[in-house]
Symmetry: D2
Subunit: 89 residues, 4 copies
């Protein structure tokens, strides 16, 4: 499965997001300027979108391109469509 194959890369991305969220917590706790807060949230959003793109790509390849069983492809396509539609609201 792609999330196992790519585990190290994906965990690096997740830990970066955790680091960013920790820095955001510090900005708020220390009453830092709201401009820095806004920009830090935008940075986290970018990192989360990057992580989503990486997992969707892996999902497409593993479960739709390289999967020979049509029924399995159908199940996995439904999962992906649900996530994609959350971006298309």
């Amino acid at each position: 499965m792609h999330t196992i194959k790519d585990k190290a890369k994906l965990l690096t991305r997740v830990r970066r997001i955790q680091g960013q969220a920790g820095a955001l917590e510090k900005l708020l706790a220390e009453d830092q300027d709201c401009t820095a807060v806004l920009q830090q949230i935008a940075a986290i959003r970018g990192a989360v979108n990057g992580l989503m793109a990486a997992v969707i790509e892996g999902h497409l390849v593993d479960h739709l391109v390289e999967e020979s069983d049509g029924d399995k492809r159908q199940q996995e396509a439904a999962v992906m469509l649900q996530v994609i539609k959350s971006y298309l609201k």
Copy 2:
């Protein structure tokens, strides 16, 4: 192909967007309030996202779930990934 199979439904969606764009043109040409302009653009964005969701769904089913040739699935997955990534910037 899904865009042929779903042609009537998709054309209805496109013509709705054309109608909304025409109404937006009228709002601007007649110096209408900018609140109405903002809300009309948001409505067009929603309609375009709905159209994209419909075509992506058809593409997933036609070219990835129901396509038995792995090489063809690979080509079509690349097309879809490019579009999805434009939403994940």
Copy 3:
């Protein structure tokens, strides 16, 4: 009002979107490849986002930065917040 001041520029953007929607209609009517359809919808989405960015910028300057009446600023901020939140779902 910014949508009057920027009318020519905004109408040019709207007419470009109308042209793109017309081209999309043609792609569908002529049973063209769905890859071209997907990419054309993505192009329209980009143009609509560009139009929204231009109008939001004008709205911010006209109704929030340069508006001296606090009550009016409050009304216009509410309009803008509603549009921004539609992007943050």
Copy 4:
């Protein structure tokens, strides 16, 4: 400043995101199903968007509606526009 006034509420949101990111790390580390991974990333994205909406709303009110100095409003509008445009790519 709004991020100080709303500090407790905002910190609660940030800590929720940290918790979600921790749960995502666990899903990956334990080789859980990629469907759960996709859905967890979508949940984090929703939480980050909710946090951004809350901070943008506070920024609008504090720095644009209730700020009587036009020059200060101009600086703060530029910050906000930069963040909004990152959503309009």
